[in-house]
Symmetry: C2
Subunit: 450 residues, 2 copies
């Protein structure tokens, strides 16, 4: 019997198991362009925790690899299938189980779309704060598995700060509840945060309890233009000290790409800084003074929601403007904010030496930058050079005291970079932890842990 | 050769090793009244990481138990010595290594006193936010080891939210660096938060990188009195929705003890709620309206710092007022905020059935309550009843969806409670993790993990 047939026998007729070779490819990859993928033996569109537990018991007994996936919006190959694996898609488990406005928590299935939860809780004047760029289509489960970031992290922290508890199926098909819905509990070792960001290598999350926040006030938006990245970055520490709810940067290369496509009036501008404050317009007024002190060409702000949306257009267009010029390979590194301008300078050097177009934009307030390498579609030589630049940028970031991934995850494409950064002792500890949760190594093999 | 003599041989003459039997007792216990302790073979007043590494290599090779301690201000016996152990005191490792206002971090040795770090960073208009009641004398290392709470958690979270990275000596004497000083890094499994709150069972922390925050504005303080705990608690969810930076409650029993000692005008009052906002006085003005809507006898606020200090007097006096009436056994449980008044009612029943005086105060905004059991000093029968009430309160909290410890830790006194709450599977996982870090079980044996 094939793996799919055996799985059918284990799960029964009501289970949705896909083996159609025309459909399998769409469950075999995430959005990473450079990650390899294999062909799964079967895809289970899981309906509930019991199906997942039964599938894992079967996979564990037979040492079959299992890859979990949410919306497949990852950028590091973390959800890519390996040959002969069972892919478990969580997209159908998309129920908001409970919203508890008294205790400021919500309990959801992993397939709930991030923005949909936020919309639902907004009726109680609450918010689910983590805001990855993918929030309109990525799932909370995927966000938790990758410890997703976003723009609000500068003030509100990353996904892990907003996760209270999970239910999870372990590699051998047992169900465990980790963490506590309470705001404070020190009763157990913090196993929960070991799972957050583990990219499906330690278990499959079946339920998540998240913290909700009082819905912040509508933001006031500041925009400041500078002749150079150095001047802009000199303003950043003082802007960070205003506790902004967003602080983004767009570099000259990216601005040129935007202007070529949809002119917004940034011709000849070296760098744009965007800041939002959800506290008071005064904060942005102070921000204007700081920007001007550091040599801004122009700095202004608005507390009108329509104007705010216009001002941040340039950041929203950054990636699509680069993408329309070719294949766009989006990197994700994080450096100390004091090193951002050194990173940008180093990336510009890599661009000029390799002849590649590399635009840089990202989260200036926490040093998490997205150098984006553009190369010709289908040109194998250019792709090879792009991948080399991608890895070179990671090395530069690491040498500046930074890290291989700020928010996209390690997946399969940054495993070597993780090894370089962390060293043998930390890798050994991770392998030992992996063994505790997944002794046979069936969960997302080859990902995350070198 | 004795353990102390061997340790001396390993560490050399410059090491400070205490074996004086008159001094050992002061390094053998924390502040828990009911936790047992043993007699250590030696106390090492560690001066640096190398001494700790060498001591652990020696202890590991010889399977000698090792107990780390900071200021010894714990309340669960977590720092209590076991017989024949080496106690490693971190109190002399109290250097603030670096304050980096640009990247909003500080790097400290574990023996730095919490409030001293906050004072140092205040000159940059920054704050180290975690504020356990012990912050004037407890150490950052101890705070991290117990994942200490405090009053500001309702807005700013517990210690773990403010820890970025640590250096740690593992049981076998190796040094590892866990976490990242960066605001965002998803390169490794989150081993860091496994250590935060592990109470010295997985390694000995030798350096900590903490996140600093923009110093909040001086707080405005609200005080509201109610006839009953039920009325007060009905106001709490709406007050929490104002995002207060403090939200505390003091019950009738505690108020009577305060009035007997230092009359503040709360005679006949059933419950006091205290709230602070570091955003704007308007928030407290809204709080007054909410309190009045829910039947407050009286509600008022002040943004004058002197008045604020007067208003929170009653909370500061809560524990000492109970303590002067006898031996005070401070419990620490956390329940959903919607269950606080049920907890208080249940504790009142335990008090009346046992004939014990039990005052309750705590952090209303996150459900973390401190029922405090008063009994006669030196009365063994009364102490037995007090311990029984202590454990009964934990069970009640657990049955209300709560937890055995919100912020004080499990230490030795709540190990059975942790087992009841977590169940075998979670305990097994914790034991397996413990084995990864400490295969011989030498680190703080008998604590935290059942």
């Amino acid at each position: 019997m094939s793996i799919a047939e055996e799985l059918r026998k284990v799960l029964g007729d009501q289970a949705t198991i896909i083996t159609d070779t025309a459909v399998l490819p769409s469950y075999s990859r995430d959005q990473s362009q450079i990650a390899k993928n294999g062909t799964p033996a079967a895809v289970l569109l899981a309906k509930n925790e019991s199906e997942i537990a039964a599938a894992l018991k079967f996979a564990h007994a037979n040492a079959i690899p299992v890859v979990a996936r949410g919306a497949g919006s990852g950028l590091s190959g973390g959800a890519n299938a390996v040959d002969g694996s069972i892919v478990i898609s969580l997209e159908k488990m998309n129920r908001i189980i409970e919203i508890d406005p008294t205790n400021l928590i919500a309990r959801v299935e992993p397939g709930v779309i991030n923005l949909e939860l936020d919309k639902e809780v907004s009726q109680f004047s609450l918010a689910y704060l983590p805001d990855p760029a993918s929030r309109e289509w990525s799932t909370i489960g995927g966000n938790v598995a990758t410890n997703a970031g976003g723009m609000c992290c500068v003030k509100y922290g990353v996904t892990s700060h907003h996760v209270r508890a999970i239910r999870m199926v372990t590699a051998d098909g047992n169900v465990v509840a980790l963490g506590s819905a309470l705001k404070k509990s020190v009763t157990n070792l913090d196993l929960l945060h070991l799972i957050v960001g583990s990219e499906g290598t330690l278990g499959i999350i079946t339920e998540i309890t998240v913290a909700l926040a009082v819905r912040p006030k509508p933001a006031t938006t500041l925009i400041a233009t500078f002749a150079s990245i150095e001047e802009a970055m000199r303003a950043v520490p003082e802007l960070v000290a205003l506790a902004p709810s967003m602080l983004e940067v767009v570099d000259a290369t990216t601005l040129r790409a935007v202007e070529e496509w949809k002119p917004l009036g940034f011709e000849g501008v070296g760098t744009v800084l965007l800041m939002q404050s959800d506290e008071s317009p005064d904060i942005c007024a102070k921000g204007v003074q700081i920007a001007e002190k550091h040599g801004a060409i122009d700095a202004t702000y608005s507390d009108d929601p329509k104007d705010s949306a216009d001002l941040i257009q340039v950041r929203k267009l950054a990636y699509p403007a680069l993408e329309r010029k070719g294949a766009a390979l989006l990197d994700d590194v994080c450096v100390p904010i004091s090193q951002i301008s050194n990173l940008v300078t180093a990336v510009e050097k890599i661009a000029s030496e390799s002849g590649l177009l590399i635009g840089i934009f990202g989260h200036a307030g926490d040093g998490n930058m997205h150098p984006t390498i553009v190369y010709d579609h289908g040109d194998a030589d250019a792709e090879f050079k792009a991948v080399a630049a991608f890895n070179q940028i990671i090395k530069v970031a690491q040498d500046l005291g930074g890290t291989a991934s700020g928010e996209h995850g390690i997946g399969s494409i940054k495993v070597e970079s993780a090894l370089r950064e962390s060293g043998e002792k930390i890798i050994e500890l991770q392998r030992a932890i992996k063994k505790v949760f997944d002794p046979k190594g069936i969960l997302n093999p080859g990902k995350k842990i070198p």
